[in-house]
Symmetry: C2
Subunit: 158 residues, 2 copies
């Protein structure tokens, strides 16, 4: 796949947008792969009544350690102001509970409800399935390599 022509110049070009110059640009690839995976996971989680980000929030509630909202925001890579609305919504859906941490009363500890724990687990299986299907065109080695490369690139660009 993907011939020697990695960047074109003039002649032939393409029938489908994906084969045009822009579609071989890193920015285009990242944007569209990101958007398509988001649509897939959104659709898959819809029966559970949560969004991909909401599932990620549930799944990063560590039942062994207690996470404050700010810590969860860091784990998810989102802003703490976004976290407020996210927890609001998950609380409204009966998945999590806030309580003030006695030691440091500025912090809210977020815990899973039974419902939240169930949805987190079911969601995890659905997401596993999404990842598998999304990367189905790659063999196991290439799929691992893709994750490794993305991780390395993320870690070196802050």
């Amino acid at each position: 796949m993907i011939s020697a022509v990695d960047r074109n110049d003039q002649p032939p070009v393409s029938a489908r947008p994906d084969e045009d110059v822009q579609s071989l640009r890193l920015g285009y690839l990242l944007k569209h792969v990101y958007l398509r995976f988001g649509r897939l996971t959104s659709a898959e989680l819809e029966p559970l009544g949560i969004s991909p980000l909401e599932w990620a929030a549930l799944s990063c509630v560590d039942e062994q350690r207690e996470h404050s909202q700010r810590e969860m925001a860091e784990l998810l890579g989102i802003d703490r102001t976004k976290m407020v609305a996210l927890i609001d919504e998950l609380e409204r859906k009966g998945c999590v509970e806030r309580r003030v941490q006695p030691v440091d009363r500025r912090k809210n500890i977020v815990t899973l409800t039974d419902t939240g724990r169930q949805i987190s687990q079911r969601g995890g299986r659905l997401i596993d399935d999404c990842e598998r299907r999304f990367l189905a065109v790659l063999n196991d080695s290439d799929a691992r390599q893709l994750r490794r490369a993305l991780y390395a690139v993320m870690a070196t660009n802050r």
Copy 2:
């Protein structure tokens, strides 16, 4: 930078959020790599006064063939309603011109001005540089492999 104590909690596990469970999820990787590349290219193009998407639009104006707005939207993978504002802005900046296609008066043909052509070329060199720096942690073979994998995944998930 980023000492071992990035999370106050207790035991071992990870020092940085990126090493947590969520950060190994495909969705997390795609989102954050996408966002970071976007920030890099936005900053790099800032001196030219255009956004990454505006540059992509300029660079997909094919001077050999005439593209309508709708065709350009397809090449960029955006909606035709988004294209209107995009061309408005590029026209305001003196980079492109709209003119009605005589053969089919419903269509607008978009062409580059001299300014637009210069900015497109300079922007192309800046974006090349961004891609090189962004993927610097990968060797040439791994970088090519990453693009190939992203392309294959995009092509098989519509």
